[in-house]
């Protein structure tokens, strides 16, 4: 069902956790759908220095969360905003069709976190 990449990120998720002194936090999803993703950012000089996540959700939700943190780290905010759920899924060699909709929200969570950073740092 899942690709090897998905299973790798699911079983060894990168960047799990919270950032104590995060300056951007985003959360998407809701409990009744079974997926909640929360992303913590540490942005300095417009560059994402650190990113961590916490996710309640299925295998795809966890793997996309992990993947998006890996993809975002070191990027500028503007570069990170170009990432989409689609590109995250592609970086994982694809997701089952049923998962594309509900469980593929990690880029949205990242964007929420960036938005939150921008709001705090206008």
């Amino acid at each position: 069902m899942y690709t090897d990449k998905v299973m790798d990120h699911f079983s060894n998720p990168r960047n799990v956790g919270e950032i104590e002194n995060a300056n951007g936090v985003g959360e998407v999803g809701n409990a009744s759908c079974g997926d909640i993703m929360k992303i913590y950012l540490r942005v300095e000089d417009n560059v994402i220095q650190d990113v961590k996540f916490k996710t309640f959700g299925c295998g795809a939700a966890i793997a996309t969360s992990s993947m998006v943190t890996e993809m975002a780290i070191g990027k500028t905010i503007d570069e990170a905003l170009v990432l989409t759920n689609q590109t995250v899924a592609e970086a994982l060699d694809g997701l089952p069709p049923a998962k594309m909709h509900c469980s593929n929200l990690a880029a949205d969570a990242l964007h929420e976190a960036i938005k939150n950073y921008k709001e705090q740092n206008v």
Binding site: M7, A31, S32, G34, T55, F56, G57, C58, G59
Partner: protein
């Protein structure tokens, strides 16, 4: 890697004795039992023997058994067949909100076609209120359909009492006995049942065969029109090998059920008490009294985590279980059974069913009890809901209990 299969309510391997018995019917004895020549005669006796074996297990006459392709067909046949046959008598059906989709979706289909369906509520333990059931009966009621045991929680319903109520009000009574047969005693006479459905692959027969008990004299419109097979009850060339397998599986169940499921029950109880001891913040789904659940079934929710993720981690350790998570069912909502029991939606997403079988061992359970706590811990550590300051948004507004009287 060692493989531990704890998903016997979904399906189970064909028993070796069953496989051995059915194999000759693929090549040497390949005939169509409806044929009059040697090839047909060679197999028609085998079909009738299987019918006797099934009948003996549930205490009815062989002529009251009709072979089908699966449990779902049986539920469709019983309910649609009754709705059509008795349409002049009424259009009201009573069932429960915790039935298998084969019953629920059939009822919903009938609702779109002019029938009224009452879906009885269950309490937080998943049990029915029989006074509610009796109160739901109207002069238009043509069918009561209540499962003998629930596939997700293992809850056993009071089929004999319901049979009494049905008899008193002269209403036809169908029970989906797919999960009960072979695990607990099922006696259709004693329970006053008119229609009871069995599925082969839940008792060690192959997938693709099932049976329905139709009490003598029960008018039932065919679901499968066509040839004269099964005394005109079900068209289609007999699945001879499957039917022979079903017969042997029933025979084995009749001989071994008590002993086998005393053993399985011990393992299940060990798993249940082990998890309760080792993992905090869990919820048992189903009746707290283990005697009121199938001896092989345990359903537990692990707060803060999602079921599919849990199953995948089990799977990485070779453990197969199942989940009420929406993500594992192909639907958009978590298990309707959890919903009907008003299990909080997040807990519903983590409901995990362990359904044991006779192939399991003490070591299997020890292994699960060793692997489970760190997996839960790890997923909780990853969950934004765990140790959250604010209480988790665990409301019951998603409960989709449907009731219409």
């Amino acid at each position: 890697m060692k493989k531990i299969y704890l998903d016997n309510n979904a399906t189970m391997p064909v028993k070796p004795e069953v496989l051995e018995a059915l194999l000759p019917f693929y090549r040497e004895q390949f005939g169509n039992p409806s044929s009059v020549h040697w090839a047909g005669r060679m197999v028609s006796g085998a079909v009738e023997k299987a019918r006797e074996q099934v009948a003996a297990l549930i205490n009815c006459s062989p002529a009251e058994i009709v072979f089908l392709s699966c449990g779902s067909e049986g539920d469709n046949f019983a309910i649609k067949g009754t709705a059509d046959a008795l349409k002049d008598r009424g259009n009201h059906i009573i069932t429960t909100s915790v039935e298998h989709p084969a019953v629920l979706e059939t009822c919903e289909f009938l609702e779109r076609n002019g029938y009224d369906v009452t879906y009885l509520k269950v309490d937080k333990d998943g049990m029915l209120n029989l006074a509610d059931l009796e109160a739901a009966i109207t002069d238009k009621t043509i069918l009561i359909s209540v499962m003998w045991a629930n596939n997700e929680t293992g809850n056993i319903y009071p089929i004999e009492e319901i049979g009494q109520i049905a008899k008193k009000h002269k209403i036809r009574f169908h029970t989906d006995a797919v999960q009960a047969v072979g695990k607990i005693p099922v006696d259709v006479q004693k329970a006053n049942v008119d229609l009871a459905v069995i599925s082969g692959h839940k008792i060690g027969a192959p997938k693709g065969v099932g049976a329905i008990y139709i009490r003598r004299g029960t008018r039932l419109t065919r679901l499968m029109h066509g040839g004269h097979q099964e005394r005109n009850r079900r068209a289609g060339t007999h699945n001879v090998a499957g039917i022979v397998g079903m017969g042997v599986a029933c025979e084995l169940a009749r001989q071994n059920r008590e002993k086998d499921y005393a053993y399985v029950r011990k393992l299940r109880d060990k798993l249940e008490s082990g998890i309760k001891k080792l993992v905090p913040e869990i919820k048992l789904n189903g009746h707290p009294n283990p005697d009121l659940r199938l001896p092989n079934t345990l359903n537990i929710s692990f707060a803060y985590i999602e079921g599919e993720a849990l199953l995948l981690h089990f799977d990485l350790k070779g453990i197969a279980a199942s989940s009420g998570s929406a993500c594992t069912s192909g639907s958009l909502e978590p298990s309707h059974v959890m919903g009907a029991m008003c299990v909080e939606v997040i807990l519903a997403h983590s409901s995990t069913r362990f359904s044991l079988g006779t192939d399991n061992t003490e070591e299997d359970i020890d292994f699960v009890l060793q692997e489970l706590p760190p997996i839960v811990e790890r997923l909780r550590e990853m969950s934004p809901l765990y140790n959250r300051g604010e209480p988790t948004p665990l409301s019951c507004d998603e409960c989709r209990i449907i009731r219409r009287i």
